[in-house]
């Protein structure tokens, strides 16, 4: 059995989700990581992309990430979830550069996944699959490189909830019972979260959950689903299910008042609502 050749496209060098997926894949038998790319921490293109995506919130994100890592409850919870996973997977390094260096995996910092140096690097290592971590929009030349496509784990249930803010939207739309919260592994296409669905994992709600505590549950499921997807591809067990456009909608970031409404609705959830 020949090795499955995997490349990883990460948002930044120190991204925990990317580190955990890379570490998980290193441990898989008959899987070879042929290359990892990570975005340069600061480029004008990236700054603009992030600003258009998050608006003014991006300044707070940068502040919390680089200067105030322990300030927010979210980062504390996320770090804790990450710590447990890191222990499970035996992750010892804090950057992709160090992790790939200690495992002899080619590593490159790029301006964007779609830039020339990124495409050349990936083509050179001819992966069977690329794992796209983060939510950068990838273009056709990137999508055409791997033989088996590009994997992405979407933080929401597909095909119903495409786009962003998909933790809040099922709460606002009161579809927790029918659709639920969760993550979906899918093959990337040019459209936003419209590619064939490979697998889904539901996130269980517990009484007292907040939007922040829910976010921390996602990390574990996303890492596990990505690694399981690689395993199942290696074993030829994946069955992609194409999405129909009409089966879902594209969602966008919630207004702060909508966000507050979602939080209020979440606090009113009864045992009867906790079906999934």
């Amino acid at each position: 059995m020949s090795n499955l050749r995997v490349a990883i496209s990460a948002p930044i060098d120190s991204n925990l989700y990317s580190l955990l997926v890379t570490q998980g894949c290193i441990k898989l038998e008959n899987v070879e990581i042929v290359g990892v790319i990570a975005l340069k921490t600061f480029t004008i293109e990236r700054a603009w992309y992030e600003y258009t995506r998050f608006g003014k919130k991006i300044f707070r994100k940068i502040f919390n990430k680089y200067f105030n890592a322990n300030a927010s409850l979210q980062s504390n919870i996320q770090n804790k979830a990450g710590e447990y996973l890191s222990m499970d997977l035996g992750l010892e390094h804090k950057t992709l550069k160090k992790l790939t260096g200690s495992n002899n995996i080619p590593f490159l910092k790029v301006e964007s996944p779609n830039c020339k140096s990124s495409l050349e690097f990936l083509k050179k290592h001819s992966p069977d699959i690329i794992l796209s971590i983060g939510s950068f929009i990838v273009k056709k030349p990137f999508l055409q490189i791997p033989k088996n496509g590009v994997f992405n784990v979407h933080m929401g249930i597909l095909p119903e909830y495409r786009g962003i803010g998909v933790t809040e939207w099922p709460i606002i739309e009161n579809t927790l019972k029918e659709i639920g919260l969760g993550v979906s592994l899918h093959l990337m296409e040019r459209g936003v979260d419209t590619g064939p669905v490979l697998m889904k994992r539901y996130i269980s709600l517990t009484k007292g959950d907040t939007l922040v505590s829910l976010e921390s549950k996602y990390l574990k499921e996303m890492v596990n689903l990505m690694i399981l997807g690689v395993q199942m591809l290696r074993d030829k067990e994946l069955k992609p299910v194409p999405q129909k456009k009409s089966e879902g909608k594209q969602y966008f970031e919630t207004h702060k008042r909508m966000n507050k409404l979602a939080q209020q609705q979440l606090s009113c959830i009864t045992n009867d609502d906790l079906i999934r």
């Binding site: 258009t52 003014k56 300044f59 502040f63 939207w169 207004h255 008042r257 909508m258």
Partner: protein
């Protein structure tokens, strides 16, 4: 030196968002300025035009301000018979009057046919195209505007309106709604007319198109996040763009009302916050200039948009 408190203060300043209280203060200010304008200009040129039509416009405005009921149908019919152009111009007192009527939220009980209006629509449609030259584009816009007001005020036959809307829809393929210049100016009236029709059986044939065009506007608002939508128009005037942008927000709110899709209410909340810095700069003076009247129309549309947004958001919170 610990820089954290300074950075935190700076971030809070950056993050200072538009609040609903801010919108309400803005609305109160604009209402005061508009009332003052109307009272001062009762005896002006356009006010006299209204008087010649045996309308006691001063009285009507007084009644409106006091919140009393008044006979909209007769006023509108008299005006339409006298000068149809009054309704097509954003800067006419008639246009303001129609906005007043809308703000007043009184429903009109009887439907009145208006042959003058149909004739005007027919003439415009003979040389109208959403993707043609500036004159043709403007005709498509004015025709849509007339149909919308006709439907809204219930003085245009719905079957007739549906036939004409079909022509306008066929002339605007979905991939032509936006071009490199921006959104086709006046297309908000087309969407709003469609939204009136799809509520009834007569509009069933437009349902898919209406949903698709709504989705395109939603995406544009959410992805580009423009303070004011770029418009494809020969009128290079920021106030006109703001006005059309506000009509788009109102259209988005109406999509929410018709289809119950909360994404549209969410988009309207954000778009109304983004337009706030433009509205705060609007100062209405007492001049009867077209520029000033456009400011009043912007204010009316903004007030209506916030009023509707709050009504719908409060209902959503209750459910």
């Amino acid at each position: 030196m610990n820089l954290m408190p300074i950075i935190e203060k700076f971030l809070l300043w950056i993050e200072k968002d538009v609040s609903i209280e801010g919108h309400q203060v803005n609305i109160e200010r604009l209402t005061t300025e508009i009332n003052k304008y109307l009272i001062v200009n009762r005896e002006g040129k356009e006010g006299k035009k209204f008087n010649r039509l045996e309308l006691n416009i001063n009285n009507s405005i007084d009644k409106f301000i006091k919140g009393d009921e008044f006979d909209n149908i007769n006023i509108i019919n008299l005006l339409l018979r006298s000068d149809i152009n009054l309704v097509v111009d954003d800067t006419s007192l008639m246009s303001i009057y129609m906005q007043l009527h809308e703000l007043n939220d009184n429903s009109i009980e009887d439907s009145v046919d208006n042959p003058t209006l149909s004739l005007k629509i027919e003439n415009l449609l003979q040389n109208a195209s959403w993707i043609g030259n500036p004159k043709e584009k403007n005709n498509a816009h004015i025709a849509s505007r007339l149909i919308f007001w006709g439907l809204k005020m219930e003085f245009l036959d719905r079957d007739y309106a549906a036939l004409k809307i079909k022509l306008l829809v066929e002339g605007l393929p979905l991939n032509k709604l936006f071009n490199s210049n921006g959104m086709i100016f006046g297309s908000s009236f087309l969407l709003r007319s469609l939204l009136i029709l799809v509520r009834e059986e007569i509009g069933a044939e437009f349902l898919d198109y209406t949903k698709d065009i709504s989705e395109l506007i939603l995406r544009r608002l959410e992805i580009k996040k423009e303070g004011v939508l770029l418009m494809d128009t020969s009128i290079k005037n920021e106030k006109s763009s703001i006005l059309e942008h506000l009509r788009c927000i109102r259209a988005v709110l109406e999509v929410y009302i018709v289809f119950g899709d909360v994404r549209f209410l969410n988009a309207a909340l954000k778009a109304n916050d983004r337009i706030y810095p433009y509205i705060i700069k609007i100062k209405i003076n007492m001049k009867m200039s077209s520029r000033n009247i456009k400011k009043i129309l912007i204010s009316f549309n903004y007030m209506k948009s916030i009023k509707e947004q709050e009504k719908r958001f409060s209902l959503l919170c209750q459910t």
